[in-house]
């Protein structure tokens, strides 16, 4: 059985390609210049202001506090600007890789379905950039880390939590479209006998997981809107999000268990005709047991959360 901590070959190749592209870009344009915040300089300024304020009185103390807030905002902003820069570079690398493959598909060197995963990578990278842009805006307004809890307050009248949730739907929605195309293709392959039925079962399980994830995000959006409208308290909102996550885990597990049962049956049939070993059968049974155990835990989690929701406040 392959070591689960071995990287996928596609990932290793893709990252090497991205690193090479980035190195070539630097040779052409020079390194991106930005000035990182200097914590030593900021500390020296704050120390000086504190000494002055002790001599001069209250107004200087207020100025020192303001300087400290500004220094904190600057440090946070700088950190998020760096992460945004990284995300933008990842997006450019993903888009360039996509363009290269697109050319090869147009030349007939690759089948069109090879574009699905790169397209998904581009969408995920775009999503990361948009989320980081929002986080940076929130940091600039609030001078603190962005809050992601459903019960987080608005920032200067703006609902960053809602905006981020709306962006987070993009990638799973595209992934769902891709999987539905794969399902049609898989069903056709099974019909003509060039693929086993389990291939379709796995795609169906993935579709079910994505539908559940999208539905979970929509539920979060609804809970957020209820909280902002004052219809539920912060504690109720947080618990309902946990409840939604637990329900999503349950829904995601059920098709996986169905696939695992099919695999166990397939391995047992193959063992009976001498096409596989006891080890493979045992591995399939173990995987099924693990999933069934996860299901039981997810059911317990959900019961615990619902108990807390129903407790009188």
């Amino acid at each position: 059985m392959q070591d689960p901590h071995t990287p996928r070959d596609g990932f290793v190749e893709r990252l090497e390609w991205q690193i090479s592209s980035e190195l070539r870009r630097r040779h052409r344009t020079g390194p991106a210049t930005w000035l990182p915040a200097s914590p030593v300089k900021a500390a020296a300024v704050i120390a000086f202001l504190v000494i002055v304020s002790m001599a001069a009185g209250g107004a200087a103390v207020a100025a020192a506090v303001q300087a400290q807030n500004d220094a904190r905002r600057d440090a946070l902003t700088s950190g998020y600007e760096q992460r945004l820069e990284l995300a933008r570079r990842r997006l450019v690398a993903a888009q360039t890789h996509m363009q290269v493959l697109d050319r090869e598909v147009k030349l007939g060197l690759l089948p069109p379905d090879r574009l699905s995963e790169p397209q998904l990578n581009v969408t995920e990278a775009e999503q990361s950039v948009k989320v980081l842009e929002l986080q940076l805006q929130e940091v600039r307004l609030s001078a603190r880390e962005p809050l992601s809890e459903i019960s987080a307050p608005l920032v200067s009248g703006r609902d960053f939590v809602l905006e981020r949730l709306q962006i987070e739907r993009l990638a799973p929605e595209l992934a769902l479209v891709v999987e539905r195309v794969r399902l049609k293709d898989g069903q056709a392959r099974v019909r003509v006998g060039v693929a086993p039925a389990i291939e379709v079962a796995e795609i169906e399980a993935r579709i079910s997981e994505l539908e559940s994830a999208i539905s979970g995000l929509q539920r979060k959006l609804d809970i957020r809107r209820q909280f902002v409208a004052g219809q539920i308290t912060a504690a109720q909102a947080d618990l309902r999000v946990l409840e939604s996550a637990a329900e999503h885990r349950l829904r995601a597990l059920e098709p996986k268990i169905a696939v695992a049962r099919t695999k166990v049956a397939a391995e047992e049939s193959r063992f009976n005709v001498g096409l596989t070993t006891r080890v493979e059968v045992a591995a399939a049974r173990l995987r099924l047991s693990e999933l069934e155990s996860e299901l039981a835990k997810a059911q317990l989690d959900l019961a615990l959360i619902r108990k807390k929701i129903n407790e009188p406040s």
Partner: protein, 189 residues
């Protein structure tokens, strides 16, 4: 400031270190391929930001793993808390390893909120599957000292995890007879 960084040095370093680096990150995220790939990629982007001005470090693997560790901590600090089932996180169990994405996420969430010295000890034990003997040899401590530190670190982790909904993890008193942490746990590969 050094001149331009030879590409072949960087690519060679990448090829030499990608598998150990990936394994380091993957163990800490319970084998979640997508997440491990994102974090490894982020680590390498930071290397490309730093190495052109400072050159490839003398021990690039150690540098990358240090940065990967910081990236992991930042990731887990940003995660919202998830409910846990105490039976799935039995830190005292001989066979416990956080080798699923969910268990790794909970343990990682907790470790990101602990002092680094405690967190690194628990990482060596749970993620690197090092025995008490190996940890003692690496840190030049007695096995008894390592067992004591592990017990204290576990208790601190339980206190942190007890903030999560659904948790009922109990801390053991130091020096109690809980079945002393095994001198050589059965971490089998």
């Amino acid at each position: 400031m050094s001149g331009s960084l030879p590409d072949e040095d960087v690519i060679r370093t990448y090829r030499d270190t990608i598998r150990p680096l990936y394994a380091y990150v993957s163990r800490r995220v319970g084998g979640d391929h997508g997440l491990a790939e994102d974090l490894v990629q982020e680590t390498w982007m930071r290397a490309l930001d730093t190495w052109p001005s400072r050159g490839v470090p003398r021990d690039p693997a150690a540098w990358l793993m240090r940065v990967a560790r910081n990236t992991l901590v930042s990731h887990f600090r940003r995660l919202p808390p998830q409910p846990i089932d105490p039976a799935s996180i039995d830190l005292e169990a001989e066979r416990f390893t956080p080798d699923t994405p969910d268990a790794a996420a909970i343990v990682g969430w907790g470790l990101a909120r602990m002092r680094r010295s405690h967190a690194e000890l628990l990482e060596a034990f749970y993620f690197e599957e090092k025995s008490v003997r190996e940890i003692a040899a690496a840190r030049r401590l007695s096995e008894r000292a390592v067992e004591g530190r592990l017990r204290r670190a576990r208790n601190k982790l339980k206190k942190v995890l007890n903030r999560l909904p659904g948790s009922r993890l109990t801390a053991h008193a130091p020096g109690g007879s809980e079945g002393t942490p095994h001198a050589g746990p059965t971490h089998t590969s």
